[in-house]
Amino acid sequence: MDHDARPGAQYGRVVADDERQRSRWADFPLAMAMLAPSAVVLGLFVLYPLGRAVWLGQQRCNNFGGNCRSQGFGQYADIFRSTEFQNALVVTAKFALLTVPLGLVLGVGLAVLADKHLRGIGVFRAIFSSTVATSVAVASLMWLFLLQPSVGVLANVEWFNSLFPSVKDPGWLQDPGTALTAVAMSSVWGGLGFTFILVTAGLQGIPAEYHEAAAVDGAGGVRRFWSVTLPMLGPTLLFVVIVLTTRAFQAFGEVDLLTDGGPRPQDSTTTLAYFIYGQNSPIKGDVGLQAGSAVLLFVLLLALSLLQLRMIGRRVHYA
């Protein structure tokens, strides 16, 4: 973080130290007044609830959120080790492994495909970025309509149905073996526009001379992609991976609308976020367990981001 640590008198009169101290205090009331609105909101709705959640996480309540008792901070370990949390953790990890690489590869593929000087390419670019306009709810409902076994599109298209009978019976969202993949497809589709726009911007930031130089040296399209395009995209791809991973670990809407965390009893699509806030979650209403799980999710996300920055960041080449 390139924090601003410039000397105090930067914007005041340049004077002796003691007067500089005084001028620092001179701006203090104005600074507080300007910071107050943001500080109140962030303090009251981000920092305080986080702190309180850490405290609540060691409490056990009845199913209506009342009558809470302290259990000690060992409850965090208990939550983490519980079968339900472990299941949600595994489901979430699988979901991330399904959505992040696929979303990245498809996004880069689309961007490279559209990064050509062709008449009308703007139309294709608009189409490829269009899913950025869909909210999670919109994207999920579109896919729900595609995938539902009885009143869905694919189940009612004759040739598709005979090619893949499982789309009607039991239905891809209803089969424990395919449900998570089906939810992941919806999620990847919804995120495609975002990745496409970012990677396209990254591609356009690569100086044309690099490609020309490589071409003059006899590098073909494939070679240029691996040796020029990908390395130059490094920072963009790192950012995309971090955002996609974070999103995967927060996936809620698509699960809520497509599967409700089912099929049961395996809870094949109960992600961590659904485990905490879902309608059919086993800990619904227990504020202590919810807060505890939420804090664990926070720690997990923090660790993941740091890990990605360190592992991938080291190999990324910032031009």
Binding site: S38, L113, L141, W189, A201, T236, I276, Y277
Partner: protein, 309 residues
């Protein structure tokens, strides 16, 4: 200031490559760069268009089936789901009125506008304090602001619901909007631009007797206007796309936002996919329009975090 190449991503002929063409024509006639290099010709060009067309079809397929379904009467929806062989606007009208999408849209717009206005104002104020002013405790406060960026919304909602409930704000616009009236993201984004203002500018203004508020209003804000546009768009979209929070804080049909309203529509009408799809179409149109109008701000905002490292 992001350069124009980043902001022109969606523009038709703004792709890089003009210099390449000149190079190919003038200097490399003996050793031509392969056709596919930047401007495919002949069969390669046909192939490229074919590929683009197929991929575009696949990407748009869910949208296509949704639109078709929203324009068909209920008894025809599942007969030929891929073919637009019947047409009616009744289902869209039905989703708008009995499906309450009109009301949900109104709620979403109110909440999104309030959140956007407040986020822009609070971000500009706190960014100015962090970038231009100097005061004791600045570093600690700035770290506290940045720390809030690391907190996922899931970790705060359990307690935020209690807070909002305690204030009597369940099923109200305040309940939907107030927790999101300020963001560290906005503060950080605007601060980065304020930091590029030359200090001579502030000094000159001070000598002329211009106070901080005058300087902010007449010099600083006009200079960050493009960034403010990006921030406003992101605040609007962020608010519009909220799913988890409205589901928690609204349990009265009339107070639903578009997103939580779609959930109600979907869960309550499992057997009427065309009604749900009509609701989906209505819900998607405003954002599509906003994004068409504000393409540049979108790209600028998205790339602010990525391309510049």
């Amino acid at each position: 200031m992001p350069d124009d190449r980043t902001t022109a991503v969606l523009d038709d002929d703004a792709a890089p490559g003009t210099p390449t063409d000149a190079l190919v024509d003038d200097q490399l006639v003996e050793n031509p760069v392969p056709d596919s290099f930047d401007d495919p010709r002949g069969w390669r060009r046909v192939g490229r268009y074919t590929l683009l067309g197929i991929v575009a079809f696949v990407v748009l397929f869910p949208v296509y089936t949704t639109v078709i379904a929203s324009l068909k009467p209920g008894n025809k929806v599942l007969q030929n789901p891929l073919v637009p062989d019947a047409f009616t606007l009744d289902v869209l009208a039905d989703a708008w009125s009995t499906g309450r999408l009109g009301r949900y849209l109104f709620n979403s717009i109110v909440v999104a506008i309030v959140i956007t206005l407040f986020q822009v104002v609070t971000s500009v104020l706190s960014a100015y304090a962090f970038a231009i002013l100097d005061f004791p405790g600045k570093n600690v406060l700035f770290l506290a602001f940045i720390a809030t960026l690391l907190v996922p919304i899931e970790a705060t909602l359990v307690v935020n619901f209690d807070t909002v409930d305690g204030l009597g704000w369940v099923n109200t616009y305040q309940g939907l909007a107030v927790p999101f009236l300020a963001t560290a993201f906005g503060t950080f984004l605007i601060r980065q631009v304020f930091l590029t203002l030359p200090r001579d500018l502030r000094d000159a203004a001070a000598i002329d007797g211009v106070g901080h508020l005058g300087f902010l209003r007449h010099v600083a804000i006009p200079l960050v206007r493009p960034t403010l546009g990006a921030l406003a768009l992101f605040a609007f979209l962020g608010s519009w796309n909220q799913y988890l929070w409205p589901n928690l804080v609204v349990n009265e049909a009339d107070m639903n936002t578009v997103q939580s309203g779609l959930r109600v529509l979907s869960k309550g009408n499992v057997d009427e996919p065309n009604l749900v799809m009509a609701g989906t179409v209505i819900a998607a149109i405003p954002v599509a329009v906003v994004l068409l109008v504000f393409q540049r701000q979108l790209v600028r905002g998205l790339t602010a975090g990525a391309v510049k490292g």
